[in-house]
Amino acid sequence: MVKQQIVPIVLTIVSIVIIYLALQLDLSPPMIVGDSMQPRAFPIFLMVLNLLLIAILAYQIFKTPPKQNEPINRVTWLSMVLMVLFYGLTVSTDMFIAITVVMFLLSLAWGERRPLIAAANAILTPFLIFLLFDNVLRIRFPRGILMNWYYG
């Protein structure tokens, strides 16, 4: 029962947390707000509306329980872990090193059995995108090991 209602439960918690956070917002002096509404009013209204909709959703699930989802598969988990790895590598080394490593590992995780092809894709794609953004769009990328070397 609780398992079936997990979505409404999570959404209810999120909505209540947002209402709580909205209630912590500063009140603006009436002179500024005038005839309009306080900044907290709109988000609170939205979340109350959401709670009503969530109640309807919970009732619908109670009446006709949805099919149980298959567990998230290994490749999807790995892809999400690689996103975390991307964050870590970007912060600690360089964005383009992170992209290359993650692209390479993502290819392998998704079943690419030719490491050379995966490596070529992981190196060439970010390199070409970098050239395009750097030369044509004139975007400056965040400094890291590679970018420090490139920008000097």
């Binding site: 909709l53 959703l57 999400m80 964005m95 079943g111 995966a118």
Partner: protein, 501 residues
């Protein structure tokens, strides 16, 4: 009128714009044939590349992606029974059976012709309907805009696959996301958690890339090693005279249906193609052929889905209310490039508006030529292994998101919304309502605030405005109409039952 015609004509005289449309049509078809990468994801990924372009060129690129990717979904729908885009789902019903009978070229020929006709009809309607609607919308004040936006949000209930309630919940969360940042009037910081990069609010582009591209990557990872059944064909075959005779009524009808459905806020090509298909079946003299390779079925679905592209641009450009996920991104593109969507656009930027319409017209001609002569090559692209394709999408997503504001925060937003989008889709929530809610959120709040000021804080005065009441009534009927209809018809059935008993 003269200005509009000269603007339309100027598209053909601008070689750079023609080149851009040509190149983008190729990219759009490639995106359309790759299962999982639809027009919405494609537009989200390409948006950062348009940053340095002239606004007209940038929007022309996005509109071309929309038009060509919507058509290209039919190529894989016919050849590998996998719709490249959700809008081509109805094309598989008859396209693949016809291809299995060895008539893949004929099926593609019908799809190309029907798509082009639908697309061109919708652009023509767009050219005439948009300025008329803009003239009406020009008179709208904040109460009418508020009610119109509420109507647009209510239409989220049917925007895509998720149930109505789930879509509305997604939409409300999207609207809430728009409240992040400093409040417009009082500058009070809302839900920023001390991060001053959020002062202006969540940037639309990374949220779109996260919701559409990154979440799709995670969804596709489930099918990482699946191989598709591919049907070979010799060449695309133009429909014969007998074929034209059989399908012309269907094509005309479905083009009208598609354009009309596209114009409705939040209804897109997918809904249009389904209705176009079912109407083709309803009016057909050969109903038994449907599902077994009916050319009317292909024509009905394809003309309707491409007709919806022009239709969906009407509310997007005239009212600032996107008609689908892709038009939501086009709307973001308009904003990023300083073109304020809404009726004023038709006063202030007439030339730009008609150049965009003209570009869509040219894009339809381009994909006709490419569809006829290069569909075979494009179909092969769909066989690119996902283990190569999706890492490229990952790189494009993160670099593209960074490029907009040169902000690392935008990259984290892509990743976070990628996971949120994936989880939402896993539990049956569509992501398009979240995106549309985010875009419309500011519009709702600002117009509500302005209405309150106009009416000295008396909110119920909104209901004294006839047009506002009209839109709110439409919103109510859109949300509760089906249930009320069911209740009423059930009541009358019960009464009939009682009489017969």
């Amino acid at each position: 009128m003269y200005e509009a015609l000269s603007a339309l004509g100027s598209v053909v005289l601008d070689p750079y714009l023609l080149f851009l449309i040509f190149a983008t049509t190729i990219i759009g078809i490639v995106i359309g044939v790759l299962p999982g990468l639809g027009a919405t994801t494609g537009a989200a990924l390409l948006l950062p590349f348009t940053l340095t372009m002239d606004p007209v060129h940038a929007i022309a690129v996005l509109a071309t992606i929309y038009v060509s990717a919507t058509f290209a979904g039919s190529i894989t729908a016919i050849l590998i029974n996998t719709p490249g885009t959700s809008a081509a789902a109805a094309t598989t019903f008859d396209g693949f059976p016809l291809a299995q009978r060895g008539e893949a070229g004929r099926a593609l020929g019908i799809a190309v012709i029907a798509s082009t006709f639908g697309g061109i009809v919708s652009v023509v309607v767009l050219c005439f309907a948009a300025p008329l609607l803009a003239r009406v919308a020009y008179e709208f004040r904040p109460p009418e805009y508020f009610a119109l936006t509420v109507f647009g949000l209510s239409m989220l209930a049917s925007i895509s696959s998720g149930g109505a309630v789930k879509n509305l919940i997604g939409g409300v969360f999207g609207v809430w996301l728009s409240t992040i940042g400093a409040e417009r009037v009082t500058a009070i910081e809302r839900f920023m958690f001390g991060n001053y990069e959020l002062y202006e609010g969540l940037s639309f582009v990374p949220v779109m890339i996260g919701l559409f591209a990154m979440s799709e990557l995670l969804v596709q990872s489930k099918m990482a090693n699946q191989a598709a059944e591919y049907i070979k064909m010799k060449a695309v075959q133009l429909p014969s005279r007998a074929d034209y005779k059989k399908i012309w009524k269907t094509v005309v009808r479905s083009s009208g249906i598609g354009t009309f459905i596209g114009i409705l806020p939040a209804e897109g090509a997918t809904v249009a193609s389904m209705i176009g298909y079912s109407e083709a079946k309803r009016w057909s003299k050969n109903k038994e052929e449907f599902g077994k390779g009916s050319i009317e079925g292909i024509a009905g679905a394809e003309s309707a889905n491409n007709a919806a592209t022009g239709g969906a641009m009407v509310p997007t450009m005239v009212l600032g209310i996107p008609g689908s996920g892709t038009t939501a991104i086009i709307l973001v593109g308009l904003m990023v490039h300083g073109l304020r969507p809404g009726p004023y656009l038709f006063n202030e930027q007439v030339t730009a508006v008609y150049q965009i319409f003209g570009s869509m017209f040219v894009a339809n001609i381009m994909f006709l030529l490419m569809g006829l002569y290069a569909a075979k090559i494009f179909a092969r692209i769909s066989l690119v292994p996902s283990a190569i394709l999706w890492p490229i999408v990952f790189a494009l997503s993160v670099i593209g998101a960074y490029a907009l504001n040169s902000s690392m925060l935008d990259i984290w937003i892509v990743l976070i919304f990628g996971v949120i989008g994936f989880l939402a889709r896993r539990f049956g929530f569509a992501v398009a309502p979240i995106a549309v809610g985010l875009i419309l959120g500011k519009m709702v709040e600002v117009n509500l605030q302005n209405s309150l000021k106009i009416f000295n804080g008396e909110w119920w005065q909104i209901f004294t405005q006839p047009l506002a009441v009209f839109f709110l009534l439409l919103a109510f009927l859109g949300l509760c109409g089906p249930q009320l209809f069911r209740l009423v018809t059930r009541g009358s059935f019960d009464a009939n039952d009682g009489q017969s008993n």
